[in-house]
């Protein structure tokens, strides 16, 4: 069995004359936490949409969880999970209703779904809020529940698209512990983030600008290779090689 969960080869997507993703070649191993960094418009979202089977590549190939994203997007969709802070749960449904919905959508049988939901309540100790509307919960809880919903069907690969937006630092830290825990269980995780310090939690990161890979590797190795003081510095150097000044908020523009 191939130990790589994501393999891309010269993955490219053009919209008219604009090349959003340009010749992306990388792979992600099983159980790896892989950071996907880049400013808005760098091509992250387009790349993820191709990897999720939502967008056909103009050229090149990508294989996710053993399935070709262009030829077999439906199989890809079954084997992955997707979670994002922006694209969240149904606020007017309760916690358990949301979990039931997503479990059913991903084709879990009723008994198995009940089992997994119970296990999830235990693990995150959220039994007492299961009948509350998601809309009324604090962002930290919403985030955990969204992650749980994306994990119910035990996906091989989990896409976390800016999962920690609008959450305070302590909650972010707890959330990352949960992510690392999940990866330790064998799930491959591809995460995009605006908070560059979070990249240090990743086994490897890929830094993208103008649709191309600027750097790929272990965060600490990358920092020392480019003589960067921290991730922010590294990011600025790689995405703005000409500009001498380093803006700390660069990534959040």
């Amino acid at each position: 069995m191939d130990e790589r969960s994501i393999i891309t080869e010269h993955l490219t997507r053009r919209f008219g004359t604009f090349t959003a993703v340009d010749d992306l070649t990388f792979d992600v191993g099983r159980g790896e936490v892989f950071g996907f960094l880049g400013a808005n418009g760098a091509g992250k979202t387009t790349a993820i949409r191709m990897l999720c089977g939502l967008l056909r590549p103009t050229s090149g190939q990508a294989e996710v969880a053993g399935c070709d994203v262009a030829r077999n997007p439906e199989q890809v969709k079954r084997r992955i999970g997707y979670m994002s802070q922006r694209f969240s749960l149904y606020n007017d449904l309760t916690v358990s209703e949301n979990l039931q919905l997503f479990g059913t959508i991903y084709g879990l049988s009723r008994t198995r779904l009940r089992e997994r939901i119970r296990e999830m309540y235990r693990r995150l100790s959220m039994e007492r809020i299961k009948d509350q509307l998601v809309g009324g919960l604090p962002p930290g809880w919403k985030q955990k529940i969204a992650l749980s919903a994306a994990m119910l069907h035990r996906p091989q690969v989990l896409f976390l698209d800016e999962p920690t937006g609008g959450v305070d630092p302590l909650e972010r830290r707890r959330f990352w512990e949960l992510i690392l825990d999940t990866a330790a269980g064998g799930t491959t995780i591809l995460v995009t983030t605006h908070y560059l310090d979070e990249a240090l939690y990743c086994n490897r990161t890929l830094i993208m600008a103008d649709g191309r890979i600027q750097a790929i590797g272990q965060p600490r190795t990358l920092m020392s290779e480019h003589q960067a003081a921290d991730m922010d510095d590294l990011f600025s150097r790689l995405t703005r090689p000409a500009g001498g000044t380093t803006g700390r908020k660069e990534a959040e523009v």
Partner: protein, 377 residues
């Protein structure tokens, strides 16, 4: 597939049932509208002023007829009309609601083979009263017929020496006061089926939950049909409530086929849901979806469907615009089936057009959701 579909439908139902206030309004609005329109219709016929224009010069049969009319609780014989020319004035004053015209030679003609006719002239500007009065008067004439037959030793009740000749004045199109029922239904269908569908789909877009659905293995058609089914049921229930209220409380007749009426409603609701999905695909926020539905759907449904303004009075070009409004065909169909009692076959045009609209719009929605390859923003 079926489990997924059911799961999605359950979720939609939860959304609908959770919004208790919206749900209550969806039923309160049509009830209020029907009550409002309904009570404008005068229902009771009790000693209604009726004039007799007797040209038979004291014929005993004519006198008998007048006595019978006088004896009935529904009528009060008044003395306003002495000649043909008085009829119009009496109706305009409102002092008389019906004039019974007895022709010259009434009694003798009634005993001939060819018989004679009683003319019932009514003020059809209030069609409800007019038809009710005609009903009672016709029953009295039928009574008299039976008496005449026994008197002449005829056993067969089929021979009718006295015929009834009805003349409706002031409302040549016979526009019924019950027109408000299909009108209110058309509006409610637009609000529930079209507007609500477009707003909920726009909400999924706005909050991003639609993204979660597209990333999932859920098929586009499951999402579309999972939206269509609950809203179809909700609208159908709403429509049935209005229909029952109209028929049971306000006495709206249903002369034609009930199956035909149901088919017509179903097609109209589907077309409306299709319009809602179409609107939601063109907008990004709930607010725009709401505005677009109000201006693009509700206004034409009220103004360009023949509900409030008769189509016949509109300029030619405007009538063509009205013909693309689904409600126009719905109202025409309901009018034909329920009020005029036309057979379903006569209404193939509104049925076909609504069916085609429903098919094309739902098909378009399915096609749009099946399309996967769209550029990222």
């Amino acid at each position: 597939m079926t489990d997924r579909f059911l799961g999605f439908v359950v979720k939609e139902c939860r959304h609908i049932l959770r919004e208790k206030r919206t749900l209550a309004m969806l039923f309160a609005i049509p009830l209020a509208l029907v009550m409002l329109f309904g009570y404008v219709i005068s229902m009771d016929i009790d000693h209604t002023p009726v004039a007799v224009l007797d040209s038979s010069q004291g014929d005993p049969l004519a006198r008998k007829l007048v006595q019978k009319l006088e004896a009935a609780d529904q009528f009060r014989i008044v003395d306003q009309v002495r000649c043909e020319a008085d009829i119009d004035a009496a109706f305009r004053d409102g002092t008389v609601k019906m004039v019974v015209v007895i022709p010259a030679g009434f009694g003798s003609d009634a005993r001939r083979v060819e018989g004679t006719a009683v003319q019932l002239v009514t003020d059809a500007s209030d069609l409800n009263i007019a038809t009710t009065l005609i009903g009672y008067a016709t029953a009295i004439v039928r009574d008299l017929n039976a008496e005449l037959n026994t008197e002449q030793g005829l056993l067969s009740a089929d021979t009718a020496p006295l015929r009834v000749d009805v003349r409706m004045m002031y409302n040549p199109e016979l526009k019924s006061a019950y027109m408000f029922v299909p009108g209110v239904i058309a509006m409610i269908v637009m609000i529930v089926a079209a507007m609500m569908t477009s707003v909920t789909l726009a909400r999924e877009k706005e909050t991003g939950t639609l993204r979660l659905l597209t990333v999932s293995p859920l098929k586009g058609r499951t999402v579309v049909l999972g939206k269509v089914l609950p809203y179809f049921v909700l609208t159908a229930v709403n429509t049935a409530v209005i229909m029952l209220l109209g028929t049971l409380v306000f006495g709206m007749p249903c002369h034609g086929s009930l199956w035909g009426v149901m088919l017509l409603c179903a097609l109209f609701i589907l077309a409306a849901i299709g319009l809602g999905i179409l609107i939601s695909s063109l907008v990004k926020t709930q607010q725009t979806a709401l505005t677009a539905s109000l201006v693009g759907l509700l206004m034409p449904t009220m103004l360009l469907s023949g509900f409030i303004f008769p189509l016949a009075n509109m300029p030619e070009a405007m009538q063509w615009v009205c013909r693309i409004v689904p409600a126009t065909w719905f109202i025409e169909g309901i009018k034909g089936l329920m009020l005029k009692g036309q057979p379903v076959g006569d209404l193939w045009l509104p049925l076909t057009i609504l069916g085609a609209m429903a098919g094309v719009l739902i098909g378009l929605a399915l096609w749009m959701f099946a399309r996967r390859d769209r550029p990222a923003r």
